[in-house]
């Protein structure tokens, strides 16, 4: 009953913020739009039948844009409480801090999972219409994996904001993890560092779940790759929870 109460409270807080719905809508639209744009950049000249390129991964590249929005959503859900002082009201009403954090995480995960599912399924559907040769092979792993990426990135945003208690800082740090590390993993001229980053940094590793072809060339296998991202998100959430308990609000 107490759990239901705290879940309900978090749901009300999220539901009544217009920004939540804007961000979720943007997640759906941008996932599908970028996916469709990526699919339409494939021509029969680049990708003749049978096409060796990984078109499934390409159509799911919308996730790389919408993950930024999920990060913002996660970070705002607690960062905004800190900046406006609502956190003190929240903790007065619900003194169990672990419960507050887990309820937040649960409600956020659910919302992101739904928005992510709609976005990922629409980009796959659009790709079927656009691509000269529709993607073949198993779609289940890349599709569920992409939704899980969005959920985990939201949790990453939540945990960073819990740790830093500051929206701007946590978003900057989160975007660095999501975007800058993958760039370095491509452009750093050292093969050792490239391999290390692609294997152990959350983002290149997590995105390996989207690969459907040429799996042998991946630095880390799909599910273990997603596991790396999950380890970062859950680990940071745990660390955030510990700090959250130890510190004053």
């Amino acid at each position: 009953m107490r759990w239901l109460g705290s879940l309900h409270a978090e749901w009300t807080k999220l539901r009544t913020l217009p920004s939540t719905w804007w961000l979720l809508a943007a997640t759906v639209v941008l996932t599908a739009a970028l996916g469709a744009a990526a699919a339409s950049s494939v021509t029969t000249r680049i990708c003749p039948t049978p096409c060796n390129a990984d078109t499934t991964k390409l159509t799911l590249s919308g996730v790389q844009l919408s993950q930024a929005i999920c990060l913002v959503l996660g970070a705002l859900s607690i960062g905004a409480e800190y900046s406006t002082g609502t956190i003190r009201t929240t903790l007065t009403a619900m003194p169990g801090r672990w419960r507050v954090l887990t309820s937040k995480a649960a409600v956020l995960s659910l919302l992101t999972a739904v928005a992510g599912a709609v976005g990922v399924l629409s980009s796959l559907g659009l790709a079927r219409l656009i691509l000269p040769t529709p993607p073949d092979g198993a779609l289940l792993r890349p599709a569920t994996g992409s939704i899980l990426i969005l959920v985990l990135v939201t949790l990453l945003g939540l945990s960073l904001a819990t740790l830093l208690r500051d929206t701007a800082g946590s978003i900057t740090l989160g975007l660095g993890i999501l975007y800058v590390v993958p760039i370095l993993s491509h452009l750093v001229n050292s093969p050792t560092w490239q391999h290390r980053l692609q294997r152990w940094a959350p983002m290149p590793a997590g995105l390996s779940i989207q690969a459907t072809k040429n799996l042998g060339a991946l630095a880390i296998a799909p599910w273990p790759g997603l596991g790396v991202l999950a380890a970062y998100a859950v680990g940071l959430l745990g660390a955030g929870g510990v700090w959250f308990r130890l510190r004053d609000a």
Binding site: L58, A168, L184
Partner: protein
């Protein structure tokens, strides 16, 4: 009767209202910046990170053990291998020939830069000075000299009609001509080639660059290059001048030695002369600058990708915290002219981030170069780069400008959005995401992204010169940007200016 009351004169500032001290406004903004300790910390971290990441990238890069390199007369790394049917020429002279055909021996399409023509070369040594007039399948008739220079001639097609070529030597001056009938000649250019002795080697040149196949399965790239062989036919070969040699002899310039493992796969090149004076040559190789070596300048700037995150945060917070805390109302009360406030804010943040960025890129670049030197990137293949000369100077100052432009872009978007979360996410997505997508997208889409988004600005870090007379695949994952350095930076400037205008418009229109 009432006593006259005295009202004191109201206070008026001595400053002219229209020029109410832009300098003071800047000082106010500067005070707002430096008194926030966290921002100074972020600024310092940005500098440390730019230097540190660049150093990390440099220390992991090692080179050595490649094939021996050939240096051209200008000190640049070149390819110099081709089929050369030649004789010596002492003093002045004129070489004329008609190229009648060029075809591939491997069934593949001809490389656009395959070359059949005539050359005056200072010696048979690889990398020696030369001037040549060649017919190419894809780029018409060209006059080329000393590897790096190239002038276009008539764009006639060898496949349709034979092409007459002529090269005249007069001391150190070489003049190239082209003609369709052997009677009316068009001058292509007159060039001075240094390093030509009194006796030079002149004759027929035949070569074709390696055929490169890039398999780019959206992320995983594999480039395969294969040697191709071409056959060229020539007739009406005449040389006017003093030649001491007995006649025409043939040499494969830069031929694979006996110890070369590839030598066995390559069929021997031939030169056949028919009784009617038709020369049929088979050959391979190329005489052009070599562009495969890594870009040593760019390798010293990998930290900029991380540094720009910090600059984005600073630019955003510089305005978004004023909105959050309500300080913006105080600011606008003190200075009612909002555009002036915006201008002062933009100037201050631009100056701060540029200065810090310049310090960081200069130190980072110099240190990275030193590390790269000790990792085997040594002259002559990688000449020493001076910080105060282009392309290093351009890359160092340009990267600092990039960092500062990103901060101003963030400031402007922050004025429009008035919250930090949305602004930071927008700017990072605009500047960094296209770069990531370019690794994953098909090549045309990837290059389009790197042309029209602010990510084009990273081209300013490039130090390598790409010659138009060399066919190359510009792959984003190799750090190649489709725009030239300055044009790339100009794209970011355009975005920043547009955002500033939008900010100016909204800040005037809206309540604070």
């Amino acid at each position: 009767m009432t006593a006259p009351t005295r009202t004191p004169a109201p206070y008026r500032s001595a400053l002219h209202p229209a020029r109410a001290g832009f300098g003071r406004l800047m000082r106010a903004e500067w005070t707002k910046f430096w008194t926030v300790r966290a921002w100074l910390l972020v600024l310092g971290m940005a500098a440390v990170v730019v230097v540190g990441i660049s150093q990390m990238g440099a220390s992991g890069s090692v080179t050595g053990g490649g094939p021996p390199i050939v240096l051209g007369p200008g000190g640049e790394v070149v390819n110099d291998s081709f089929r050369f049917t030649h004789r010596s020429l002492t003093g002045d002279g004129t070489l004329t020939v008609r190229v009648t055909g060029l075809k591939s021996n491997d069934g593949e399409a001809l490389e656009p830069w395959a070359k059949a023509g005539i050359i005056v070369k200072s010696s048979l040594k690889q990398g020696s000075a030369y001037a040549a007039v060649v017919a190419t399948p894809g780029h018409g008739v060209r006059m080329q000299w000393d590897f790096t220079h190239d002038t276009a001639g008539p764009s006639s097609d060898l496949g349709k009609a034979p092409q007459w070529l002529r090269l005249k030597r007069l001391g150190g001056k070489l003049t190239g001509y082209a003609s369709v009938d052997g009677e009316k000649w068009t001058q292509l250019g007159e060039v001075g080639v240094g390093g030509l002795g009194r006796t030079v080697q002149v004759g027929l040149l035949l070569g074709t660059p390696d055929h490169e196949v890039v398999q780019r399965s959206f992320g995983g790239t594999s480039a395969r290059s294969g040697r191709t062989t071409v056959t060229g036919t020539f007739d009406h070969l005449t040389l006017q001048g003093t030649s001491t040699g007995a006649g025409w002899t043939s040499t494969d310039i830069g031929a694979a030695g006996a110890d070369d493992p590839n030598a066995g796969n390559v069929p021997p090149n031939t030169t056949q002369v028919s009784p009617t004076g038709t020369y049929t040559l088979t050959g391979q190789g190329d005489i052009a600058p070599q562009e495969n070596s890594p870009d040593l300048v760019q390798m010293g700037f990998q930290g900029v990708f991380v540094g720009l995150l910090f600059m984005t945060a600073l630019g955003t917070l510089f305005v978004s915290t004023e909105y959050k805390r309500g300080l913006i109302r105080t600011t606008f009360t003190a200075t009612p002219s909002r555009l002036k406030v915006l201008a002062a804010k933009a100037t201050v943040i631009a100056a701060i981030t540029f200065t810090t960025g310049l310090l960081a890129t200069a130190v980072g670049f110099t240190w990275a170069q030193r590390t790269l030197r000790s990792n085997g990137f040594k002259p002559p293949e990688f000449p020493d780069l001076s910080l105060l000369e282009n392309p290093s100077l351009r890359a160092v100052v340009g990267s600092a400008a990039l960092l500062s432009l990103v901060a101003v872009l963030a400031l402007s978007i922050g004025v429009v959005l008035r919250n930090s979360a949305g602004t930071i996410a927008t700017v990072v997505v605009l500047v960094v995401l296209p770069q990531i997508l370019s690794f994953a997208f098909p090549l045309p889409a990837a290059q389009w992204l790197l042309r029209v988004t602010p990510a084009a600005a990273f081209a300013i870090e490039q130090g390598k010169k790409y010659y138009p007379q060399v066919q190359h695949n510009c792959l984003p994952e190799n750090g190649c940007y489709p725009l030239t350095p300055y044009n790339g930076l100009a794209v970011l400037v355009a975005y920043t200016l547009a955002a500033l205008l939008l900010a100016a418009w909204t800040v005037r229109r809206r309540d604070a």
